[in-house]
């Protein structure tokens, strides 16, 4: 009789444990009892080999408060396996990991899988699922698919190696950023750079851009076609992976980011930024005036500059004023910044018609920054003038209280095309923005032959010059607006002079030809 046999034997007899533990019996006494086998007493005697491979005393005794547990807790007996064998299969299941109902429930794994977990726990004590389940359940996860590989395949087929100048835009709707993207696209095409626009955020493209003959990778739509997944259901992180994959497949010489949140997210991600950098030789980022919210806080993509400047070759601003602001804010070196003057598609003054009452045009966003509510005060002081206001409401921003508008102010509604505005009926354009860069609307308005009344803020002087006679002193100068409009209406020669100056600026500084030349120099320098 060896030690293991004794051990297994006496643990089948709780009363014998006590005798042995107290030293009343010793191994010899147990051996003697073993020789008679105890079976006459009707007791089940087991072999050490009966101990299951995945047995755990800790699991078995965890919720047990019987005498065996007491002896085990006191350190007298080493194992409870024999106690369980005596008690039968239901007790055995509690100590065998793969058969324990509780463990099966919290892992949701079959006995076969649990046996492997046991092997893992034995191989790697302290790590793996069994070590973890003391503190948490092991969750089953869905196969979360982004579909980067099928996307790569589809992209490679349609886009790989074909494009040298990739412009990443959020979408193609009616904002100024999209126009800037368009101009860069057209100039790049003129320069033979094989441009492509990638829409990084949303699939929206308005008629205006659909009408252009442009190569567009509508990433949200393309992604859905290639993978069957919905782009807008992906997390931001996953969308940055998708965009990065697209850039890696296309391998453009130049990447130009314009106002895409997903693009900025990719460029500011610690891992992805180096992948993007490796995929293209040059990176440009166009940055525009920040957005100022109603409470006075201001933000915008310029906040990413400290995070992305290390991989960006050039920050492209739309006016010198903002360039200097950013240089001052972040000490960006001259070599990393430039300001471009964006062109206008055509200079086509609209012939005026006579109206019963003089009409002033206001067209912009209906938000706190553009300050539309001030039109109420201006109009109240000019009861003989009519004011027509066009614009898009901005969710979450200040709403115009139309009830408080005087009767001579009307809501023209939203506009998507500059030529939808009633130029022929109006004699002046009123711009009331509190802060701005170089508002594209002013350039477009000038091209249709309407004199402009505006405060000299932000980059406006970069367009109209420092000595524009119809500047008001500040955005809240109601009387200044009134005086300018009154003067313009009464002094026909003033309006004529202003139009001459506007035309001269447009033709001299805002021609496509001039823009292409500047762009060519920029590309060459990079």
């Amino acid at each position: 009789m060896n030690g293991a046999q004794i051990s297994s034997y006496w643990q089948a007899y709780l009363d014998l444990i006590e005798l042995w533990a107290k030293g009343i019996w010793d191994e010899a006494d147990l051996a003697l009892h073993f020789s008679t086998h105890g079976q006459a007493e009707g007791r089940r005697v087991t072999k050490a080999a009966d101990a299951p491979k995945d047995w755990s005393d800790w699991q078995y005794f965890k919720n047990s408060h019987d005498s065996y547990q007491w002896w085990w807790r006191k350190g007298v007996i080493e194992s409870g396996v024999y106690a369980a064998l005596v008690k039968g299969d239901s007790a055995m299941q509690r100590g065998c990991i793969s058969r324990d109902a509780h463990i099966q429930k919290i892992t949701a794994m079959s006995q076969t899988a649990l046996e492997q977990l046991v092997e893992n726990a034995k191989d790697q004590p302290g790590s793996g699922p069994l070590a973890a389940i003391s503190s948490e359940n092991i969750q089953w996860g869905a196969q979360k698919s982004i579909g980067l590989l099928p996307l790569s395949d589809a992209l490679a087929q349609d886009f790989s190696g074909r494009f040298g100048y990739v412009i990443v835009l959020p979408w193609l709707e009616s904002g100024g950023a999209e126009l800037v993207g368009l101009w860069h696209y057209l100039a790049a095409r003129e320069l033979g750079l094989k441009p492509l626009i990638i829409l990084g955020d949303k699939p929206n493209v308005t008629e205006r851009f659909l009408a252009q003959d442009m190569n567009i990778l509508n990433l949200p739509e393309f992604y859905t076609q290639a993978t069957g997944n919905q782009y807008d259901e992906l997390t931001k992180e996953d969308r940055t992976q998708v965009l990065t994959t697209a850039i890696e497949v296309i391998q453009p010489q130049t990447l130009h980011l314009i106002h895409s949140f997903i693009g900025y997210s990719a460029l500011s991600d610690k891992t992805l930024k180096s992948r993007v950098r490796d995929a293209c030789e040059t990176i440009y980022v166009s940055a525009f005036c920040p957005h100022i919210h109603a409470p006075g806080n201001f933000d915008g993509y310029f906040r990413y500059i400290p995070e992305i400047h290390d991989i960006v070759d050039k920050f492209v601003f739309d006016n010198d004023w903002y360039l200097q602001e950013m240089q001052q804010m972040y000490q960006l070196p001259d070599s990393k910044t430039t300001a471009l003057k964006y062109p206008i598609d055509k200079v086509a003054p609209v012939k005026k018609i006579k109206t019963k009452r003089p009409k002033v045009l206001w067209a912009s966003r209906f938000d706190s920054q553009k300050n539309p509510q001030i039109v109420a005060e201006i109009a109240a002081r000019l009861p003989d003038f009519d004011f027509v206001m066009y614009g898009r409401r901005v969710l979450g921003d200040v709403e115009i209280d139309w009830q408080k508008m005087p009767e001579n102010v009307s809501d023209g509604g939203e506009f998507f095309n500059i030529d939808a505005l009633p130029f022929k009926e109006c004699f002046a354009f009123l711009y009331t923005s509190k802060f701005d860069g170089t508002p594209n609307i002013l350039i477009e308005i000038a091209s249709r032959g309407l004199p402009i009344v505006t405060p000299n803020i932000g980059g406006i002087a970069g367009f109209l010059g420092d000595d524009w006679p119809e500047y008001v002193s500040n955005p809240e100068d109601v009387q200044g607006y009134v005086d300018c409009l009154d003067r313009l209406y009464k002094d026909g020669s003033l309006a004529k002079n202003l139009l001459t100056v506007q035309n001269k600026i447009l033709k001299g500084e805002r021609s496509f030809k001039a823009f292409v030349a500047v762009k060519a120099a920029l590309v060459k320098a990079s």
């Binding site: 800790w58 350190g75 034995k122 969750q139 590989l149």
Partner: protein, 722 residues
């Protein structure tokens, strides 16, 4: 400049002609410590430039020094743009904020020094206010002046009022769990001569040097106060980029927490004439409101306009709805004071032997823990005081008995948590306080949960600052669900990853041998005498009521018998399989030969698979000629938070599954991959997990290359997430 962003914040024209003043009252040095702030240094220097211009215009003189400690080129380039206001840029190579601050202070030409970091902004009156108070005789050389408000912006946004360390509401022991006074301050450098700036050391986990320094100074009755109506705009960043949020760091030992000083401060406070209105700090309820917070004042908003022009994130305060943004007093948790007093009381001046135990993790815990306390008491002629840190479970301890017999200090963690109710964040920090206070002590863990928790957070501290650290495992055999075994194994893994001092571990001889093989870490067997003593209090504990078994701690700790750390177990794929390893690294590539047929195993190095699978998969391949790849059925991946997730792999459309495996590589998951293939899946074996998933994906583009599992096989990821 930038006035367009803040129309009301136009900076006034400032005269740079200084008024004639007494030089000692009108000069100070401003020190900015920079490292790798990059472009974020610009807003800071724009802010300090404005403050300096204002001070100069008022007739004061500010010497501005930049201490560039291992600064990167970009940061230095930004600094060089401000030579109009900077007097000197001094490059140093300490790699330590405390050391470079100390160096900067020594370089200052004035005794009064302003201290700044390279990414915070300060109210424009920061310098001027000091000089004005100086002129009014309100500045004291034994006082350190902070800003009146500490306004956090960036990732987190809130405003904290600075509390004066002499304020009756402030208790010095608040500093046990929370940081109150930054080093962004102005002070006379004589204080540094008396109290040198502590250093930060990430390797050993001792840091938060301003926290430690405030403990030292406050203990010496140096006052921390503030300049009214001044603001530090403190940039908050994500934990990974913030030095102050480096995980696992703790402030150093300080005389402030010595038991005799704790009593001294209590008496001093009790004898002070001014009291907290309506409160007694020794018997307050934890949740009692403390008078003091309120809406930000007008001068705060004025500075938001000014500083917001330099850093737009500061303008975000304006977006907080009215009434929500308040100037909060810092936490004044008097329960933390009581808890700290409980933890530190009865600790004498001797080094300690800390014993960590969870009673529920041990068999015969009552006997073994008591014997350890006795051994600790007897250790080296009673040179150490025993301290028991214990998850008591259902046990009740006799303080008097253990103190009387062994001079032991008992810290019952459940009692500590239930009675003193520290917030979760504070619990581990507070429990570390008595340990840190007695660095160079001996630490012994009996596989306890409490030590595992502390070690998980502070393993660098516990590995690097104590004369010995040992784990004692009393288990009889390897029981995979043993909490003590799992705690010890995890701790050994962390210790190994830290590559610091070896953590000693002991177990019964058989188990020690077995674990040494499994853990690749030498587990020492108990000395024979220790083993016998252990048997006496376990297997034989009822044989005599008068047995006198002792644990000999010296024998155990001083000369452990070593189990040779086992060589890594040779790779085995079953007796009938020969193998040839072609590539190691992130992806292992092995050619297997079974029944004269070659197969190809691709496996990532952090993947565990059951041994039986290899032979089973090879047989499956041999018997199923149409199958080309045998992968596992279930993958258990590991994410960055250490969470395991099981996934069931379906191979009816194998490309889809391999595509998912590829995607997982980019979302911060450690994806376990192991496959056996009939032929190489690509010309050159993949080097990375993503490359392997990609190669499998393209290999299966050929629809003839069928894929099938052969059993319900698991792969489990181990190590770190990607």
């Amino acid at each position: 400049m930038l006035a367009i962003f803040a129309p009301s914040s136009k900076i006034p024209e400032i005269s740079l002609v200084a008024n004639q003043r007494e030089p000692d009252l009108t000069c100070a040095t401003a020190i900015v410590n920079i490292h790798k702030e990059g472009l974020l240094l610009a807003p800071t220097l724009n802010s300090l430039r404005l403050a300096k211009q204002k001070a100069v215009a008022a007739g004061y003189e500010i010497e501005l020094l930049i201490i560039a400690d291992k600064a990167d080129a970009q940061t230095v380039t930004v600094a060089q743009k401000y030579l109009d206001v900077i007097d000197r840029i001094i490059p140093v190579k300490f790699g330590d904020l405390g050391a470079s601050r100390e160096y900067g202070i020594a370089q200052a030409k004035n005794d009064w020094v302003f201290l700044h970091d390279g990414d915070d902004l300060f109210s424009s009156n920061w310098f001027t206010k000091f000089f004005e108070m100086q002129a009014d005789g309100e500045i004291n050389e034994r006082t350190i002046y902070h800003t009146g408000l500490f306004a956090r912006f960036g990732v987190e946004i809130d405003i904290r009022q600075m509390i004066d360390s002499w304020d009756a509401r402030f208790h010095p022991l608040f500093l046990a769990s929370e940081w109150y006074f930054s080093n962004k301050s102005v002070l006379n450098r004589k204080i540094f001569e008396e109290f040198p700036m502590p250093y930060n050391d990430k390797r050993i986990g001792i840091g938060n040097e301003d926290w430690t320094w405030s403990c030292h100074t406050i203990n010496a009755d140096i006052r921390h106060s503030y300049l009214p109506e001044t603001i530090c705009f403190y940039r908050t960043k994500s934990a990974e980029t913030s030095l102050g949020l480096t995980p696992g760091m703790i402030h150093d030992a300080s005389p402030l927490f010595d038991p005799e000083n704790i009593v001294r401060h209590e008496i001093q406070r009790a004898e002070r004439p001014e009291r907290i209105r309506a409160f007694t700090d020794s018997m307050t309820a934890k949740g009692d409101p403390v008078i003091g917070d309120g809406l930000p004042p007008d001068w705060f908003w004025h500075e938001v306009n000014l500083q917001g022009a330099f850093e737009s994130l500061i303008s975000d305060y304006k977006a907080v709805p009215h009434g929500v943004l308040r100037c909060h007093l810092p936490n004044l948790h008097y329960n933390v004071v009581s808890a700290t007093q409980f933890l530190m009381r009865d600790l004498d001046e001797r080094p300690k032997i800390f014993l960590f135990a969870t009673m529920d993790n041990l068999c015969a815990a009552d006997k073994t823990v008591e014997l350890f306390l006795k051994a600790a008491h007897d250790y080296n002629d009673q040179s150490h005081q025993p301290v028991l840190v214990v998850d008591e479970g259902e046990h009740v301890f006799s303080d008097i008995s253990l103190m009387g017999r062994f001079g032991a200090k008992i810290i019952c963690t459940a009692h500590f948590k239930n009675y003193y109710k520290p917030q979760e964040y504070y619990t581990n920090r507070l429990l570390m306080r008595p340990i840190i206070q007695f660095k160079n002590s001996i630490l012994i863990d009996l596989g306890s949960d409490i030590f595992a928790r502390l070690f998980h957070e502070f393993h660098r501290v516990l590995l690097e600052n104590f004369s010995s650290l040992s784990a004692i495992l009393f288990d009889h055999s390897q029981d995979i669900m043993s909490p003590a075994l799992n705690n010890v194994a995890r701790n050994l893994g962390l210790a190994k990853a830290h590559k610091g001092q070896e953590m000693q571990a002991f177990a019964r001889a058989d188990l020690a041998q077995k674990l040494t093989e499994k853990l690749s870490h030498s587990i020492h067997p108990f000395p024979n005498k220790f083993n016998a003593s252990l048997d006496a209090v376990t297997r034989h504990r009822f044989r005599s009521v008068t047995h006198a078994d002792n644990f000999d701690l010296q024998e155990l700790l001083v000369a452990p018998e070593k189990n040779t750390a086992a060589e890594p177990t040779p790779k085995s794929f079953g007796k009938s399989v020969s193998f040839q390893t072609e590539q190691t690294g992130e992806v292992e590539f092995t050619i297997l030969k079974h029944d004269h047929v070659k197969s190809y195993l691709y496996k990532t190095s952090s993947t565990w698979m059951p041994k039986a699978w290899y032979l089973e998969a090879l047989r499956f391949l041999r018997n199923n000629k149409h199958i080309w790849i045998v992968p596992p059925q279930i993958s258990v991946s590991l994410d960055q938070a250490g969470k395991l997730t099981s996934r069931w792999n379906s191979f009816s459309a194998p490309q889809e599954t391999f595509s998912v495996w590829y995607d997982q590589c980019f979302v911060g998951e450690n994806m376990p991959i192991a496959v056996i293939c009939r032929e190489p899946i690509c010309e050159t074996p993949p080097k990375t997990v993503a490359e392997l998933a990609k190669a499998l994906y393209y290999y299966c583009a050929d629809s003839d290359k069928k894929v099938s599992t052969c059993a319900e096989t698991l792969t489990i990821a181990f190590g770190e997430a990607q």
